[in-house]
């Protein structure tokens, strides 16, 4: 926080005035009101459609903008172009078959979606995941988070002007995707989660390669910060732009890095720990100016924290089974199916009958890279869920664009939309 002050090149009106350097809620609201003041004298309004094929709309998000010159007067968002009816599909499939569907939700962090779904099913069944399984889930989850944030940075900076960082970020993301392909078998659509743990154990040589990549990535983050953090143009384009106070975040259910940049240290990995997050200590990245610039700072800190988590998980990786062995509810291990007949019977039972799930409903939320993703499952006791609802962060971030952007300018809409990290697979389900 201290460096926040010495870079006097920041636009003077954004200087924090509170005693501890952190702007109070009223101060943030006053800054937001300043950018809304452009709306008072609106002349003739022109409507443009930042349509589904727009280069910086991160997928098929459509926003109809009413412009007065360059200032945005009104926004009418429109989503649903990537709606695949995931919830209807899930109602026709057993709990094992739903796993490959979930990683198509937020396709930039596939495994995290598997993980969220498996946590909800395990909570519904009351199933205990063995320690090694939880550690592997944490490692894979954090690798997905790193990949997601690096891609976010590349696209965010490309929206501000140059393609250079897009290529640089995608090159660094390649190392993480390599690791995920080695671990799970696919770069994006991992389908690596299983009810009761993970599909396979860590392959040999993964430990060495993972440590090499984890030591290499913080240097890359240092380089990104060296270029972007003190860049005068990034100051002008990001400081004091798109302010969203914590009150707005609660009202519009905006969570994740956007909420943490508004001064609220809310992180489900700390508040409602799951997998191995309670056994690994890490800090929650928090900033206080609630603008695009602070969302960048929060995400860079999160990449560093994720690297730390993965390193700690690798250091204290326990032995033992990586998936729960419970005849009635989990898929058997492939090795056992080929050898002993009991596992083969369990195999047939799980595929034809499906897992036994008690009647009841459950809601489990985890910390996805873009925000809090909650899974609501209502089961009537059968092998197929009666109703599943994926409460994905981008759905609500896409809805929160109007209050975020009104009063700002067109080129700010692009920067703000990128800063809240909306991905349409997540948003339209």
């Amino acid at each position: 926080m201290s460096d926040q002050h010495d870079n006097a090149t920041a636009a003077p009106e954004v200087q924090g005035s509170a005693v501890s350097g952190r702007p109070t809620l009223e101060e943030l609201k006053e800054r937001k009101a300043r950018s809304r003041r452009r709306l008072e004298h609106t002349g003739e309004v022109m409507t443009i459609s930042m349509g589904p094929q727009h280069p910086s709309m991160h997928g098929v998000y459509r926003a109809e903008l009413d412009l007065d010159g360059e200032v945005i007067v009104a926004v009418r968002p429109e989503i649903g172009n990537l709606h695949r009816g995931v919830e209807k599909l899930c109602e026709q499939r057993t709990y094992h078959q739903i796993i490959p569907i979930t990683d198509r939700l937020d396709y930039l962090a596939g495994f995290v979606m598997n993980h969220g779904y498996c946590e909800a099913v395990e909570k519904l069944m009351g199933l205990e995941v063995p320690v090694r399984g939880r550690y592997i889930r944490t490692i894979a989850g954090e690798l997905c988070r790193i990949a997601n944030h690096i891609l976010w940075l590349g696209v965010h900076i490309m929206d501000l002007g140059t393609q250079t960082f897009f290529c640089i970020c995608f090159r660094d993301r390649e190392y993480v995707l390599d690791l995920l392909e080695m671990l799970t078998g696919a770069r994006l659509t991992h389908s690596f989660g299983r009810i009761g743990g993970v599909a396979k154990d860590l392959p040999d040589g993964f430990d060495h390669r993972c440590r090499k990549a984890i030591d290499f990535l913080p240097q890359r983050v240092a380089e990104y910060e060296r270029i972007v953090k003190h860049n005068r143009i990034y100051y002008k384009r990001a400081k004091g732009v798109g302010i969203f106070t914590s009150e707005d975040c609660y009202a519009w259910r905006v969570t994740g890095p956007t909420l943490r940049s508004a001064g609220v240290a809310r992180d489900l990995r700390k508040d409602e720990p799951y997998a191995a997050y309670d056994e690994v200590d890490f800090e929650v990245a928090v900033e206080y100016n609630a603008d695009v610039y602070d969302r960048f700072l929060v995400r860079m800190k999160e990449i560093r924290e994720s690297c730390k988590i993965v390193r700690r998980c690798l250091d204290s990786l326990p032995d033992g089974p990586f998936v729960a062995r419970d005849a009635g509810r989990t898929l058997p291990l492939k090795k056992n199916v080929l050898r002993d007949p009991a596992a083969m019977i369990q195999d047939f039972y799980q595929v034809f009958e499906g897992p036994q799930v008690p009647k009841g409903e459950v809601y489990r939320a985890i910390e996805a890279p873009k925000g809090e993703m909650g899974v609501y499952i209502r089961s009537e006791g059968g092998a197929k869920p009666a109703r599943i609802r994926f409460t994905t962060p981008s759905f609500y971030h896409g809805q929160a664009v109007p209050p975020l952007v009104e009063g700002e300018m067109v080129s700010d809409m692009v920067a703000i939309f990128a800063s809240i990290d909306v991905v349409l697979g997540d948003c339209d389900r």
Partner: protein
């Protein structure tokens, strides 16, 4: 042949040779821009057409020629067709006043007196500023005539951006004029005779920087490429253009780039003069070519590194920062030249 006929023949050759040379240069600069863009981003750039992909720009041209050339139905067709030419032709005119070698009575070529400039124009600098202003019409008319909201926004931005940066450019150039004592580019280059420390970019550092920044805005290149900001306005004023018509605009941008780096070389880096006296045996045009290439490389380097300003920040920089600094620089130069000179 008598002298006037020889002069006329020389003029014809120069007038034909210059555009052909520029078009050849532009074709290669387009290729180098894509190649260097790749290198700056850690990737390789085009490699398939020709050795190291060198025929890529000819591949582009054939692709553009074969592409369908759409004109929107409700577009203002005559203006829509005229816009690329308005953007394309002024750049060539400026090349006429650019000296690429010694201009004096005793320089002879094939036995006839020959001066290394197409038009020894007394007010060459004013012509350059005028042509820059006309090129803006190409962009603004393109934006207006394609009857599309995005292009209108792009065109408006281009108009506003040019006005605010032309002033800064004009004032910063006057500093050079005061030092050289004349508007004629030939006289300016003669004023920079001698080694590289006699060039004007050393006394005129502030003026030179302002001029460089203003030319980036003139060329619509990255920190100030708001008119065709792909991320915001899809393609700005070029949204409705396709095929060879779009190619004309793309070509015009690079011709402008070559011409303006020529002007910057002439005004601040001693035109066709060698950096050291002893290297004078290498002919003038070679030096001008080397300087143009280095400056074009610098423009590319700036383009692939720096983000883009927001529209109102761009205007405020133009009016609140560059213009006062340019005037200050002019005043200081005038005082120094009169007191010391």
């Amino acid at each position: 042949m008598s002298d006037p006929v020889a002069q006329f023949v020389f003029l014809l050759i120069k007038a034909i040779l210059m555009p052909v040379l520029i078009i050849m240069m532009v074709a290669f600069i387009i290729y180098f821009e894509r190649k260097f863009a790749g290198f700056f981003q850690g990737r390789v750039g085009p490699t398939y057409l020709g050795p190291w992909g060198s025929l890529q720009s000819f591949g582009d041209i054939f692709k553009l020629l074969s592409k369908e050339d759409l004109i929107p139905t409700r577009a203002d067709k005559p203006v829509f067709r005229l816009a690329p030419y308005i953007a394309f032709i002024p750049a060539f005119l400026v090349m006429a006043v650019l000296p690429f070698g010694p201009v004096s009575e005793e320089t002879y070529l094939f036995g006839y007196q020959f001066d290394y400039v197409i038009a020894n124009f007394d007010t060459g600098l004013v012509l350059f500023l005028a042509m820059g202003a006309i090129a803006v019409y190409g962009v603004v008319l393109a934006g207006w005539s394609s009857n599309n909201n995005y292009s209108l926004l792009g065109g408006l931005r281009a108009g506003a951006q040019m006005i605010s940066y032309e002033l800064a450019m004009g004032f910063s150039v006057v500093g050079v004029m005061v030092m050289a004592g004349s508007l004629n580019l030939v006289a300016i280059v003669d004023g920079q005779a001698g080694n590289f420390w006699d060039w004007y970019f050393i006394p005129q550092v502030v003026g030179g920087l302002i001029f460089f920044i203003a030319t980036i805005a003139e060329l619509n290149r990255t920190p100030f490429d708001l008119p065709e900001a792909e991320q915001e306005l899809v393609a700005g004023h070029l949204t409705e253009y396709s095929g060879m018509r779009w190619g004309m605009f793309y070509f015009a941008e690079y011709v402008n780039l070559v011409v303006i780096s020529g002007i910057v070389a002439t005004l601040y880096f001693g035109g066709w003069r060698a950096p050291f006296e002893v290297l004078d045996f290498i002919p003038g045009p070679i030096w001008l070519l080397v300087k143009i290439c280095l400056l074009v490389f610098l423009y590319m380097w700036v383009r692939w590194t720096i983000f883009r300003y927001r529209y109102n920040q761009l205007m405020s920089i133009g009016w609140k920062v560059l213009l006062p600094l340019a005037i200050l620089n002019l005043v200081v130069t005038a005082i120094v030249v009169n007191v010391v000179g």
